[in-house]
């Protein structure tokens, strides 16, 4: 168990096992020269083969990729007391439509960014809250450190798994980088309301 998880402006013990499929052996598919499937912007997902080979950890609580959950729903439900799901930042929101259950039945939903500079996570946060009306813990996973937290928190995220090797205590301070923000968000009125 590590102490890299921030929630409610505190460092807390992370008792969620984050399941990440190992894609290192996957053949990298070259994107076709043309911009045919724009939405994928060239990034691949783990193949079904890779997903089938994921070994489930011995743990009480897990967060698994939504793609894996859809493939192995029964196994996951049977094995774990609690489970959450996560998506890649290049996943489409439509992927959630494949769920039979209400998204609010999951205590945690995560969005994973491979690279810090990938700002899609912020818009996905907005959409998961606004379009999918998700109410529980929305978690940022992956290349996450101090400098994103202020923005992530304002884009609907409420927990942050700080990347290994980065000082999570310092990162916590990032949530207070600014005392005011000009624009409104889903749960905050714009500054002009106060002026």
């Amino acid at each position: 168990m590590d102490t890299q998880l921030i929630k409610n402006k505190e460092l807390i013990l992370n008792d969620w096992f984050w399941v990440v499929p190992d894609t290192s052996n996957e053949e990298v598919k070259k994107q076709a020269g043309k911009v045919v499937q724009f939405k994928l912007t060239g990034e691949d997902f783990p193949s079904d083969g890779t997903l089938h080979n994921v070994t489930f950890p011995e743990a009480e609580k897990v967060i698994v990729p939504l793609r894996l959950y859809l493939l192995k729903t029964d196994e996951i439900k049977k094995k774990y007391k609690e489970y959450g799901i996560w998506i890649y930042s290049h996943d489409e929101l439509d992927l959630f439509n494949h769920l039979k259950e209400d998204i609010n039945s999951f205590p945690v939903v995560g969005v994973y960014v491979e690279k810090f500079a990938d700002g899609r996570i912020y818009s996905l946060g907005n959409l998961i809250r606004r379009k999918l009306s998700y109410k529980n813990d929305l978690r940022a996973l992956g290349d996450v450190f101090k400098d994103q937290l202020f923005y992530l928190a304002r884009s609907g995220f409420d927990s942050f798994l700080i990347k290994e090797g980065y000082d999570a205590k310092k990162a916590l301070l990032g949530l207070d980088d600014f005392s005011y923000s000009y624009q409104g968000t889903l749960n905050q009125m714009p500054l002009w309301n106060e002026r």
Partner: protein, 549 residues
């Protein structure tokens, strides 16, 4: 102009703290180069050929005299005594030290300025018409809407790390001087029975793939401006390419999806969220608007300058080129050329010259200065009876060049002398063209024309929309220049056409001269502008004349 309250001040100061902490973590190796890069860029800091380059925001080109003095002090204290005005109304310093940057930012913050989002993959400085509020062809003053957009876009949490940079520009006049059709989002303000609406253009841009923006939404009620922009940028943020930086601008996405399909996605999102908290209300619009009311103009008679100064040709030349009509009787707007023979590069200005301009602004123009995307400065509200004094003071300080809109009013990027991406130098080309015109007669005979130079296809000098465009290209490791004709900015924005094989630096001045000769020979009267003549006769006569030898 807009004045900070304690909220603005706090935000800008906290930004400096945040940046200082980031810089320290970078120095302590807690942040890698790759991680620090987007962070410093969002504070205007590039690492360039010689040193870092710091770009300071001049929101929609508006500056107070004290702010200009602060910029002069920074140039003296932290740079080499000069600054460079850019084509997006900002100012750049070419020689600051990385470790000095927090100090510079603090100094800026004290003067209600910053370098926020002047670079990096985020929403950049909002630009507009430098004559907003004083130009007779104005329909709506854009400045308060620009300020509302500045605040909304500052640290917008969703758009901190877009696929690529994102530029927004607004125009509110019959003539578009803000280049709305070559911006990622271009906004055209219109008015109907005192109600404000916005025509929203999207996907314009220059760079390697020049595209003229397309109309996405006509007559959007002003209260939806922010939420509509949010939906556009959200779709772009999610689906714009991130794998190839040359294909990452919104124009590529709009082209790939087709404007209709792009629009559908935007509208679906917007219909679901248009009543978001950023729905503008009259109270906020009026709160910001009151910062931009007219200054206390005096009631003065208009003066017949032509008659009064009939013997002073130089002054009258300057009046004709460097001043323009004003909404108020007896006033004119003065454009100060930063393209004089003494300037080291187009857009460069010495700290001493900044102070002269600041003093003139205080004395004659309500203490305000504006920067233009043509890299010049404007004193927007000068009384006609003061023009001669202003002109004399400018002349004494090498700022009296009477060439606004003429061929020597060259728009030019820093090019190979400063920029590590350049294929070729651009400043020496500008100088060699400038040297063709050692007397005003030829210059004036040619009349209004634009010449733009970029050192590579990133097009920082907007060469595509110059009547004459010059682009640095690389052929087998040496520097060559490709010339385009017929580009145009404004309501009829057009991209120039390549004239033929490229030229060496030595050949460029002669080629330009030949182009001008063809124009002079072919124009139907002295009134026909270069661009109109070109549109009438086409590329061929120019081509033949140039390549005949």
């Amino acid at each position: 102009m807009y004045k900070y309250d304690h909220y603005d001040r706090k935000i800008v100061n906290q930004r400096v703290d945040q940046y200082e902490d980031q810089l320290n973590r970078y120095f302590n190796k807690e942040l890698t180069d790759e991680e620090f890069r987007p962070l410093r860029l969002q504070n205007g800091l590039y690492i360039q050929r010689h040193a870092p380059m710091l770009r300071v925001a001049i929101p929609y080109g508006l500056l107070s005299s004290n702010q200009l003095r602060t910029l002069a002090d920074i140039a003296d204290e932290f740079d080499r005594g000069y600054g460079h005005f850019s084509t997006r109304q900002n100012i750049q310093y070419n020689w600051p030290k990385l470790e000095d940057t927090p100090k510079i930012l603090r100094k800026l913050a004290d003067a209600e300025m910053h370098a926020i989002q002047t670079s990096g993959n985020c929403i950049r400085n909002i630009t507009t018409d430098p004559y907003a509020g004083v130009t007779p062809d104005e329909i709506v003053d854009t400045r308060y809407i620009a300020e509302i957009l500045r605040q909304w876009s500052t640290f917008h949490p969703e758009f901190a790390l877009l696929p690529r940079k994102f530029k927004i520009s607004i125009s509110g006049s019959k003539h578009d001087r803000a280049l709305v059709k070559t911006h990622d989002i271009g906004l055209e303000l219109v008015k109907e029975q005192e109600n404000l609406f916005v025509n929203v253009f999207v996907g314009g841009g220059l760079g390697r793939t020049p595209v003229i923006g397309q109309l996405l939404k006509e007559k959007l009620p002003i209260e939806h401006l922010l939420s509509y922009c949010e939906s556009i940028i959200r779709i772009y943020n999610l689906y714009g390419r991130r794998d190839n930086m040359y294909k990452a601008r919104i124009k590529i996405l709009v082209k790939a999806l087709g404007v209709e399909s792009f629009k559908k996605q935007v509208e679906d999102d917007w219909n679901n969220g248009k009543n978001s908290s950023n729905h503008l209300n009259d109270k906020e619009i009026n709160r910001v608007k009151q910062f931009f009311t007219s200054p206390n103009y005096e009631t003065v008679e208009s003066i017949d300058l032509e008659d009064q100064f009939r013997d002073d040709h130089n002054f009258l030349h300057w009046i004709k080129r460097n001043t323009r009509e004003h909404i108020k009787n007896g006033y004119r707007s003065v454009t100060i050329s930063l393209k004089g023979k003494k300037q080291t590069a187009p857009g460069d200005i010495q700290s001493s010259e900044m102070r002269v301009v600041a003093d003139l602004a205080d004395q004659y123009s309500f203490g305000e200065i504006r920067s233009t995307h043509e890299q010049n400065l404007v004193l927007a509200d000068v009384k006609e009876k003061d023009l001669y004094d202003v002109y004399s003071a400018l002349c004494e300080n090498n700022l009296g060049e009477a060439n606004i809109g003429l061929i020597t009013d060259i728009i030019c990027c820093p090019g190979g002398d400063f920029c590590s991406l350049a294929n070729a130098k651009s400043i020496p080309i500008a100088k060699s063209i400038d040297n063709l015109f050692d007397n005003y007669d030829f210059l004036f005979d040619i009349g209004t024309i634009s010449l733009n130079i970029s050192g590579c296809m990133n097009a920082c000098g907007h060469h595509h929309v110059g009547n004459i465009g010059i682009l640095g290209v690389d052929k087998d490791g040496s520097e060559w220049y490709q010339i385009t004709l017929g580009g145009q900015q404004g309501v009829n924005a057009t991209l120039g056409k390549v004239i033929g094989p490229s030229f060496s630096a030595d050949e460029v001045p002669a080629v330009i001269k030949e182009i001008l000769n063809v124009y002079v020979a072919q124009r139907d009267s002295e009134e026909e502008l270069f661009i109109d003549c070109y549109n009438r006769i086409g590329l061929d006569p120019f081509k033949e004349a140039i390549y005949k030898n």
